[in-house]
Subunit: 363 residues, 4 copies
């Protein structure tokens, strides 16, 4: 079993990591880290558990440690970080410097050129940069080096998933718009989104979210450089992305109304792109990763789907649902995309990235 540590274990993302690890066939929880206020306590006493599933038996008694690459953490094969961005910068750096494989949900290092920003059902090939780093060290007889992989922003994950097979088959998308209707779970729960803000209401603003979507999309759909050491973004002029983000009264599941245009003419047909999305099998599925979706993209034909309450749990949240695929009077196509923000958009993505790294013997 791969020994896994969780940083920020008492927070909302940390709790999700623990739920997913507790029943994992390949990973086991080995270390849990939180603030010094929690350190020393049994996890069950340190956490305010707010999940619909019960606190897993296996985690209840684990003694929480401080977030340092020592003690139990020193023995971990992989470390998942659910840290707040206020703390993630320093702590994650210390873990990487200490030789740890860190998979982080924090935003701090996403824009670093040499750090892969990965949606595991979309661009696992970006992991080649860390594969190479590890392989180079091995060849040189050096100690296994630490590295960091960043999980994308939750709303970016849903956006790029159906676009990946389309870009592969039909070439670049030169204009892309998305209007999001985002769930409140993405904002955590202490306090997270205030009830009065989402009761009989919409908040048409999420701080920093639009910038993240517009930038991350171009990194994720871009490529490693020729010597496989860093990433080059798609040029903004070649792929214009515009996001409008809204917070709505949904617990889990981000809905996005997107439209896009291919650079190449003539554009494919609606039936073409539906077929291409349906047939897409992500690499994680090909590698047989335990959490990989059976169906990466569910293309729904009912005119009023996908809906978050009904469709967010497809493939345990690792599959993405697409519906209402149709021509767009302004760009080429418009459609509705639904993804599970706390699974493929956060903790679940981290787990699936680790499964891919394990399948490739990087961890």
């Amino acid at each position: 079993m791969v020994k896994a540590g969780v940083l920020g274990a008492t927070g909302s993302v940390g709790q999700r990591f623990i739920l997913l690890l507790a029943e994992h066939p390949e990973f086991e929880i080995h270390a849990l880290g939180a603030s010094s206020r929690s350190a020393g306590k049994a996890y069950k006493d340190a956490v305010t558990w707010k999940q619909t599933a019960l606190l897993p038996e296996v985690a209840r008694g684990i003694k929480v440690e401080e977030c340092k690459p020592e003690g139990k953490f020193a023995e971990c094969d992989v470390v998942f970080s659910g840290l707040d961005s206020d703390y993630a910068g320093e702590i994650e750096k210390a873990f990487v410097n200490a030789g740890k494989a860190v998979i982080s949900n924090a935003k701090n290092y996403r824009r670093e050129p040499e750090v892969p920003l990965v949606v595991p059902i979309v661009n696992p090939e970006h992991l080649s940069v860390v594969e190479k780093k590890v392989a180079d060290a091995e060849k040189a007889g050096q100690q296994k080096p630490g590295f960091l992989v960043c999980i994308s922003n939750c709303s970016t994950a849903g956006l790029v998933a159906p676009l990946k097979p389309l870009v592969e088959k039909y070439g670049p998308i030169d204009a892309l718009t998305t209007t999001t209707l985002q769930a409140i779970s993405g904002a955590g729960f202490s306090p997270g989104v205030s009830g009065i803000d989402v009761l009989d209401n919409i908040v048409p603003y999420i701080g920093g979210e639009e910038e993240k979507m517009e930038w991350e999309t171009r990194k994720i759909l871009g490529h490693p450089n020729s010597d496989n050491t860093a990433f080059e973004l798609l040029d903004h002029d070649k792929m214009k992305v515009s996001a409008q983000c809204n917070r709505v009264a949904v617990s889990d599941g981000h809905t996005e109304c997107i439209s896009f245009r291919f650079a190449n003419r003539p554009a494919p047909s609606v039936e073409d792109i539906k077929k291409t999305m349906k047939e897409y099998v992500c690499d994680a599925s090909k590698l047989g990763c335990p959490s990989a979706p059976k169906q990466t993209i569910h293309v729904l034909e009912e005119q009023d789907r996908p809906q978050p309450r009904l469709d967010r749990d497809r493939d345990a949240g690792y599959g993405v649902s697409v519906g209402r695929v149709r021509e767009d009077p302004v760009l080429d196509f418009k459609m509705v995309v639904l993804s599970h923000n706390t699974v493929i958009g956060a903790a679940g993505a981290g787990i699936l990235i680790a499964e891919i790294l394990k399948a490739k013997n990087v961890i």
Copy 2:
């Protein structure tokens, strides 16, 4: 006082007409029409009243009639129709043929070339077609003719309001996209939207709504023909409109995330268009209509506004709020528009249209 009748008086739109008329300084409720099942009953016994304001005293005892241009209806100066489209076609035609001025919320005749489709804070000049019809009859010594004016779809009203002053000043918009987050009150309440569809959920589809928005926008921002007898649509090639409509858990107030591009280059600046929207005074306000908004378009500077719960009641629902005006990476600008769907998007629009017609001595 202008004698007003209401068709479909027991429905959700009819109830709103009654609320607005009950306290109106110029209009009085003279006739209430509903199905034969309700006819003969006192209004209070025929209606299942579901408004937050109490059933107005003045309406309680009125005897409901069938929807025929007879009896009390024959004495009305103006007739407001909140009929379902299943019934509106025949009944409204009968009223017009009987010489009545009918202002309808139904969709049936919106596409008729000679029928004005009016958002009263946007294109009251389209009423010139009925003004002319009435004036011509008067000149010819004929009896005052009946006519029909259609209220636009609720989500169209919010979309075109801020665009009107922009188009007037900066010329045509050649591409326009809107993603709507629509309130449930627009769907009535017997049964209206099912609770299970909007609890922890989004429904990314409203039957016929996208087509209405894409079509009505081009009629409302278009012009009467040269002899002032019918309307010509803006050509689709000159103004591409794309709508994506969603139903969300909001009681009143449609939020729309829109983006648009002007045909003329260079485009104005963000500050330009904010100033133009702020300074816009709709004709109804200039005419001193009692329900006209003091401020037609509220341009909000707070980064997280407009929000339906907080902003829908500006100017009693006759004003429209706009926020987050900013450049758009794909088209020229993007912004968030909020309008009150049952006021400026339905019954309230009908009342304000009638006030304009009265100010112009057409009724």
Copy 3:
């Protein structure tokens, strides 16, 4: 495998029966019945599927039949009825007369003296009346007789579950009050509860619900008569029950704030009754029924639990959660009870009743 039929298969309760049967280790779906409008169609074409789980593969292609004890239904070992009460009366009678074992969610026959009204984690001993009927026929060499078992009202199920072990141990409860906060799923979905009724709102009334709770409680906590052929209610004077029922914006899970007084003095302590509830093991669990809860009653110590979103899925909805057990200034004790209305309060109860009947060789 036991061959199971479902009456009212396209409705909300019917869909739940199908979900539960599709993965059942002992039962298989053999016949699906619906209105003549649906009969003849494949189930997938007849149903508007509104569950969060996908329509099970095994049910998709089954041809829907009319609700008559013929054809495939004639071959069924047990028939689950999710019929509306408008139709249940006649149809269920026909099935019983044709020798079928019918387990019904409809209210029609709950008050029949000879029909068991069963919450399977509470009073499975009431099934002795049908056991006897079947055994008597067998002894007499007659054909296996049909019989009916009724599932209780959803809110009654949650109310009586924690009371059963208390009454067994401490004797009768002579006064019981409950104020319910009921989920909307109980009202089905075509149209079910209107969205406008539960958005930023409470409806303090559910037709017939309070009467059902006040009456059913006295049958369920009562006993079969001495010759095991019918049921005698607890006398109203000996057990006064008062219910106040509210519909709230919750999808699944009925919350009840209850208080009660024991007839015997002195009353037990808070710790006594918590212990008694914790230690209760329902007969279905003892019999090893596949759906029986591991823990029948979860007694929560956190001061703000149970909560429907977090706790409704304990033991897949077959377990009941109790919290805030404390002394009551007016009666003896007050506490909060949460039960899953569509599982232990409806379809799930039917399945578990059938499992018990199978374990006892009645079906």
Copy 4:
């Protein structure tokens, strides 16, 4: 005009005080106090305004002061406190000691024997204690003394309103139970109730609320002592009160399902108590106070009312609605009470108390 000050002016209760004062015919805003962080700023810059009505013009430019009985506050005739209980203790004492009339929404001094705890539509006669204090000082030729009046807890206000006329007419209530379904506005908004706690959920616990309701009810329905200097509670044995409090997804308006028993036999009839509640005219109405409700208690006959969204705004929130009055199998009667928690349960109550004091020349 009476000069009014507001303590805690930037908080949710303070904002409500400002809204009510801004349009008041007798009071004017003279001083606004907040934390030292806000002091010195214009109110519009110090506040995050979260009301559905716009920030009143009259308050925008007022310079916020620290909460000390100096400067503008020294000139105030009455001071309304919306302070958090963390700060209210010291500050309110300082204001009273400085001779100010303070009306407070904080809980700190509610249990002080000499401090009136007042629901203005229920027990304004309790103000006699401060009337006497002021009159005694006047007689003795002393300076006008400061005093404090406490507003009750929001859910207590709704509970006692309909009981007052019943107790007056039929004598004491000896047992009273209430299960509340409370709105989120009562918890403020920074952060207030977390969205994830009320989306598809109920929280069956509000810290300290049940104790407040059980205690405050006995003070409010009690009486001043014989020399009119302090209050004596109703004895617990003579009036047993039991509360169960829940937080639900409602913005404004507390719903309570209550039941009660009179000490005297025979009890009145349902029609008796409905008539008595309907005919009740509170003293504030008799005194002609501007905010006093036209109808103190609205007794609704529709079987599914009151509902918070439809009924909370009766008499601008100063009237209380009662429905479903019926016999209770356990106590004598049960019924549903709805009151507006931020009006008659908080800031509005403070304003109406001040109006009564003004009508009696105490301020």
